[in-house]
């Protein structure tokens, strides 16, 4: 637009002031990027096309209560269920009790229900053939510097081994990689061992599983399948509760914290102070340029175009700072991740956050510029030129 250079020149008239204001805006949107990344990561957990087809069955009594393995064949016969797998939590720590790991003991067909997890086919076969074989997520491999073929010792805090100790040995036979980059953090830290090896070795677990995962063929009737599964165990000592995987994760997260509320509150405070700060800058800027704006009107610029120019200036200011801030947040993720060697992984800034961020930038720019723009519009040429 031909007026662009006018608006740009107006913005950078007082360079120091503009740069300082930009810096504050960058800080605000850096924070927004980081917090919104966290919010969307939690909101999206379990929300993918593959996840929609999976049902999670746990004990209705308690989340740490186990279910009998015998349930499996009955689950497979439920209408709409096309595959069933099971798993049990293991946990474990490597070298230091503070290095808690995400290890689960799974049925041999577990990965069939998780197409978004990728393992090299040869490594998968090797895992199936190795009793104490383990598949490890690529982030874990990088973090501890493990290699395929290596045997690692893990210490369990819950399950003693067949020798009575809490020490377990596993042979790493393959690497787990996520198919889509966004799910990276989750699957990259996963470690899979064999359920059979686990159940045989630990004395207190007899044909019991932590939870079942079932895949339904018709997503639209998944609720009916869930109810049917729970009906199987109703009024028995092993009552179950079946939900879609997504619902199960959402319920879990909601108990941890209402992340949306926390993030929203913080950003509310941040943007409120930003509004005040930027509003003050814009008000000052317009006040200083009263005679210039009057001259524009004398030349023939209409009041409305002056209004538009001031609004454009304030929107440009906020968008400039906001894009820099969000960009910084997006760039920070991989940098921090690389520097901490995978220990700290900041969530990526997805397109949703960018869209929301840009919308907020424009809204804030308009809000901030509204009053000064109206002032500029209503400027009386004669009074302004006379210095009144």
């Amino acid at each position: 637009m031909k007026y662009f250079h006018l608006i740009w020149a107006a913005l950078f008239r007082r360079k120091a002031r503009t740069f300082l204001t930009l810096a504050s805006i960058v800080a605000a949107f850096l924070l927004f990027g980081m917090l919104d990344g966290i919010r969307t990561t939690f909101a999206q957990l379990g929300q993918n096309a593959d996840g929609a087809q999976r049902l999670q069955t746990m004990s209705r009594l308690s989340m740490v209560q186990m279910l009998p393995l015998a349930l499996r064949s009955r689950l497979e016969q439920v209408d709409n269920v096309e595959a069933v797998t099971w798993a049990n939590w293991f946990g474990g720590a490597y070298q230091d009790p503070r290095n808690q790991l995400f290890t689960i003991a799974v049925a041999p067909n577990y990965l069939d229900l998780y197409p978004e997890i990728q393992v090299d086919p040869a490594e998968l076969e090797q895992w199936k053939a190795t009793r104490n074989g383990m598949l490890v997520g690529e982030d874990m491999m990088a973090r501890f510097g493990w290699e395929v073929g290596q045997t690692i010792p893990l210490q369990s805090t819950i399950f003693p081994n067949s020798d009575g100790s809490l020490n377990w040995q596993f042979r790493i036979v393959g690497v787990i990689r996520p198919r889509d980059a966004e799910q990276g953090g989750f699957f990259g830290a996963m470690m899979l061992m064999h359920y059979d090896y686990f159940a045989e070795s630990t004395p207190y677990v007899d044909d019991q599983v932590g939870w079942y995962i079932s895949r339904v063929s018709d997503v639209n009737r998944s609720d009916a399948a869930a109810k049917a599964i729970d009906a199987l165990t109703a009024n028995s000592p092993n009552e179950t509760r079946t939900m879609t995987e997504q619902a199960a994760m959402a319920a879990q997260i909601k108990q941890v914290a209402d992340i949306g509320l926390i993030v929203g509150s913080i950003m509310g405070a941040v943007f409120f102070t930003l509004l005040l700060l930027t509003g003050n800058t814009m008000a000052q800027a317009v006040r200083e340029r009263t005679s210039e704006l009057a001259v524009l009107k004398t030349i023939g610029f209409t009041s409305h175009s002056v209004l538009a120019m001031v609004l454009a200036e304030s929107v440009l200011l906020v968008v400039l700072g906001g894009v820099l801030g969000l960009g910084l947040a997006a760039a920070l993720g991989p940098v921090v991740g690389a520097a901490s060697r995978g220990a700290i992984s900041l969530p990526p800034i997805g397109p949703g956050s960018w869209v929301l961020g840009l919308g907020l930038m424009v809204a804030i720019g308009l809000l901030v510029g509204a009053l000064p723009a109206m002032r500029a519009m209503r400027l009386n040429i004669v009074d302004a030129l006379a210095g009144r």
Binding site: L31, V64, P97, Y204, N280
Partner: protein, 438 residues
Amino acid sequence: MNLMKTLLRGLGMVLLLIAFLAVWVLLPWYGALALAVALALWMALTRTGRQAASVTWVGVGTLRQRLGASSVVVVGIAGVVGVLVALLAMAEGYRHTVSSAGSEDVAIVLRGGSSAELMSVLSRDEILAIERAPQIARDAQGRPLASAELVVSANVPRRDGEEGSVTLRGVGEMAWAVRPGVRLVDGRRFETGRRELVVGRGAQRQFQGLEPGNEVQLGNERWTVVGVFESGDATESEMWADAEVVGATYRRGSSRASLYARLTAPEAFNAFKATLAADPRLQVDADTTLGYFSSQSRTLTTVLRVIGIVVGSIMAIGAVFGALNTMFATVAARAREIATLRAIGFRGLPVVVAVMLETMLLALLGGLLGGILSWLVFNGYTASTLAGGVASLSFEFRVSPQLLWEGLKWALAIGFVGGLFPAVRAATLPVTDALRAM
């Protein structure tokens, strides 16, 4: 040459800044008070000090004209302090709730290598062996004040409709004697052998229908709530019932998870630990409940504090730029006034002190505003989280005086950084230019 001077001066200021911040971080409140008193004395008694006081006075007098700009500093800093205090209060509330459940004269014994009660299993024999330790206090009948307890997580509907997990603790009659902080406030204790629950106030707040007389469905069995207890700590988020019944329902048999023992005295703990270690049949870990709960809360508390500080820091950086902006503009607006003072004979230092004082006064205002707002809104605000990833823990935000002081410190630090450079600019702007301009 001029560039060199400016660079050196800039470097000097940055070093001064870092030195100040380093000292400031460590300063306790009485240290700051002493500094303030020293400053006041300097301004009252020395000549330069009195000059600084005059310049400040002039500045404060014209503050009304700069209300808009000054409010930017105040509100910006209030925002930082408000958010910081709120987040740290969340961390502090959680930490306080969990650790105040512990004391130095009550010990907890778990199976060796267990990181939490939920993971620990103690057999009947182990429990009997532990109870024989002489350091455990005895009651009037000579029975050891030891409570073997079973901990499971139960699925119960929450008040918002979703299913949640609550800690169900199976206890014997000794539990009440071992934990004196737990007081029955409604209804009665459960009867042995029956499916009866005594629920904590925190659990009652969060979950549906936990009133005395109501029934709760656990699995496929119905239990009755018969009483409510309070304790002012994490225990309030639990439900208590007869250990035998819980053990049967959750198929744990006669094993228990942990043993709580009241010791004869806090000093007896080391001897207690040694006694247990000496017994070859026992593979257990013992800790005071204070030590145990403190370490349980450590991770989440640290995470929350880190989040609070990171968010606060980024906001603080934004506020510093806002303060710099405002104060540079202020100095520019008052250039003529300041130049006149300097032409009259006021030296550079009083001007610097005056501008910084003004900035820090605004910052102090902002810090107080933010702290008080946070205290009003958040102190006592109840929240809950999933403790140990397994069961719900309800806690209150805690805006302690220590936290308010921390917030105030941040505010003053922002004021210092935001005021230093404009102050130096005010003291060094060329007098003749400023007098001639406009």
